[in-house]
């Protein structure tokens, strides 16, 4: 059994709801879909017990009626686990992973700005990467986002 399959097996053994949800795409690449309510326990197990001690980044996706977030975590031998969670667009709440990776806050702020995710447990801080006077509720990486028709007055943009 390859190391990738071993990881797949341990994940399924620990969390039976992951049955048929894990795909070994190629050597060193595992993709898994995790129910959002179980995300933190799966994430903790992967980080603490399976040795995925490094986070590459978090990718946010607009999938129509829902938003998806992929946590790309990796370990010393180069195997990368891509954990995907899906949340409804009208209530896009995810939980912070700062307790595992204090450096991950910038990735979480990025999905907040660009896709409108709400990150539970993330302490207040400077936004990234959009400007401070960027209109509220405008998330440029959402598929239905349109570039503004024309520049609006400052007051108008802040209340938009």
């Amino acid at each position: 059994m390859t190391r990738e399959e071993e990881i797949q097996d341990s994940l399924i053994k620990k969390f039976n709801f992951l049955e048929n949800k894990i795909r070994v795409q190629r050597q060193k690449r595992i993709f898994a879909e995790v129910p959002s309510e179980n995300f933190l326990e799966v994430f903790e197990y992967a980080v603490e017990d399976l040795g995925f001690k490094f986070i590459c980044t978090i990718t946010g996706l607009d999938e129509g009626s829902s938003l998806a977030f992929i946590y790309h975590i990796t370990r010393q031998d180069g195997i990368t686990l891509n954990l995907k969670i899906t949340v409804p667009k009208e209530h896009p709440v995810i939980k912070t992973v700062m307790q595992f990776f204090p450096g991950a806050d910038i990735y979480e702020r990025e999905v907040m700005d660009l896709l409108g995710a709400k990150v539970e447990g993330l302490p207040a801080g400077k936004r990234y990467p959009l400007p401070d006077d960027w209109p509220a509720g405008q998330y440029p990486l959402r598929k239905d986002w349109k570039k503004p028709e024309k520049a609006k007055g400052k007051e108008e943009t802040q209340n938009a």
Binding site: Q25, R26, K28, R29, F31, K53, F54, I55, C56, T57, T59, G60, L61, D62, I70, H72, T74, Q76, D77, G78, T80, N82, F101, P102, G103, A104, I106, Y107, L114, K126, R127, Y128, P129, L130, P131, P140, L141, K147, P148, E149, K150, A151
Partner: protein
């Protein structure tokens, strides 16, 4: 002592790129350090979704001027994985060759910047002069000093000729000789050792906790290198050592980069020796079948990652980029804790930051008229003269006078 907060940036004469630092000082001592990024956000991820895969190769290449090949390679690797394309070996070797030459020019550039930041400008002049050797090689191989345009989906666009190989070997010999000299300076010149040692300390634990990548992490004893851990292109067939160091400071980061230069020269020679004959690319389909891939690349500054999702059309559904500086910038606050203000420039420079890489997203558009406009160089020049004239700066008389003097 009274606390003083100094804003540095987003526009500041000492900064090479727009970024904003808030530095709280007690006397000369830094008590707090805050970073605000995003001033270079150009909308590239969004723009990728609106363009075809082939256009995106050139767009991702322009995420960064210094490690342009790192971005285009990471992108094409992901697309090739989704499309199931088996890139010919010779293509992979040429990709690796350009990648290592890029690392050489990037590390030499860094060495010069580091010299400049500690007031050792002779080192800047020396290293940037030597760097011209590798820049000329790039021009010879790809036709360009930066933004090489060598990658395409399915391989590379230009072959390497036997005459070019001779030139590369000559250049690498010269650079190796020069690098040995810099290593000697770094290990014997007291001013360099004293200025860099104990500055910008990042302990092994902090580097791990904050997720430092590349030479910044490796100089704190983190034995990680995507080229070895997750081999791509031709790295699986090439022997090299991952250089690590336990000084945990700017001095260690200097030693790691110097060591990596020496490894790169060895790798370039191996690549040229082992490079098989054959085609350099295979034809890629215009439409990429649905799928996703996560691609990792060891850029000169550390691990660069791209995620690509395809939806079966000729345009990607999503392209996500995380450049190494975003992973490393978090360590800077730690490095500056309780340090002197005078250490700030070299400590920031020591992660070899690249904010144009880190910030990516926004289209250029005239917001007043809602028109998209392309300015040619002459237009831009004329516009700038006109703008200055309107603001009371007029050089036309001076220009006439100068022309008269030249007659």
């Amino acid at each position: 002592m009274h606390k003083v907060i100094i804003p540095i940036g987003p526009q500041h004469p000492a900064l090479k790129e727009p970024e904003s630092f808030m530095v709280a000082l007690s006397g000369e001592k830094i008590t707090e350090f805050g970073v605000r990024l995003g001033y270079n956000h150009r909308g590239i991820e969004k723009a990728c979704e609106e363009r075809t895969y082939i256009q995106d190769v050139y767009l991702t290449e322009r995420i960064c001027g210094i490690c342009s090949h790192a971005h285009s390679s990471a992108f094409v690797q992901a697309v090739e994985e989704i499309a199931g394309l088996a890139v010919p070996k010779r293509g992979l070797y040429i990709r690796t060759l350009i990648g290592e030459l890029e690392r050489v020019h990037s590390h030499l550039l860094w060495l010069g910047v580091a010299g400049h930041e500690i007031g050792f400008d002779t080192l800047l002049m020396y290293t940037w002069r030597d760097r011209e050797i590798v820049m000329d090689l790039m021009a010879l191989l790809t036709g360009n000093r930066v933004n090489y345009g060598i990658n395409t989906i399915g391989g590379v666009r230009r072959d390497v000729s036997p005459e070019q190989i001779k030139e590369i070997l000559k250049g690498v010999d010269a650079l190796e000789e020069r690098t040995k000299y810099y290593i000697e300076i770094a290990s014997s010149e007291t001013t360099v050792i004293e200025r860099l040692s104990g500055v910008g300390i990042l302990s092994h634990e902090d580097a791990l906790r904050l997720g430092a990548v590349g030479p910044t992490g490796r100089a704190s004893g983190i034995d990680r290198d995507t080229r070895r851990d997750d081999p791509y292109a031709a790295y699986g067939e090439i022997e090299f050592k991952v250089v690590t160091d336990n000084h945990n400071d700017v001095y260690g980061r200097t030693l790691v980069r110097l060591g990596e230069l020496m490894e790169s020269y060895k790798m370039i020679r191996q690549i040229l020796k082992k490079m098989p004959d054959g085609p350099i690319a295979i034809k890629a389909p215009r439409k990429i079948p649905p799928g996703e891939a996560f691609s990792r690349y060891e850029a000169p500054r550390g691990e660069n990652v791209h995620y690509v999702k395809a939806n079966g059309t000729e345009k990607p559904e999503r392209v996500k980029v995380r450049a190494p500086t975003l992973a490393n910038i978090q360590t800077v606050a730690k490095m500056l804790e309780d340090r002197q203000l005078a250490d700030l420039p070299i400590v920031i420079a020591a992660i070899d930051p690249c904010f144009s890489c880190t910030d990516r997203l926004i289209a250029v558009k005239d917001l007043e008229t809602n028109k998209t406009n392309t300015l040619k160089w002459q237009d831009l020049h004329a516009y700038s003269i006109e703008w200055h004239r309107e603001h009371g700066v007029d050089f036309s008389q001076l220009n006439k006078k100068l022309k008269g003097m030249l007659k």
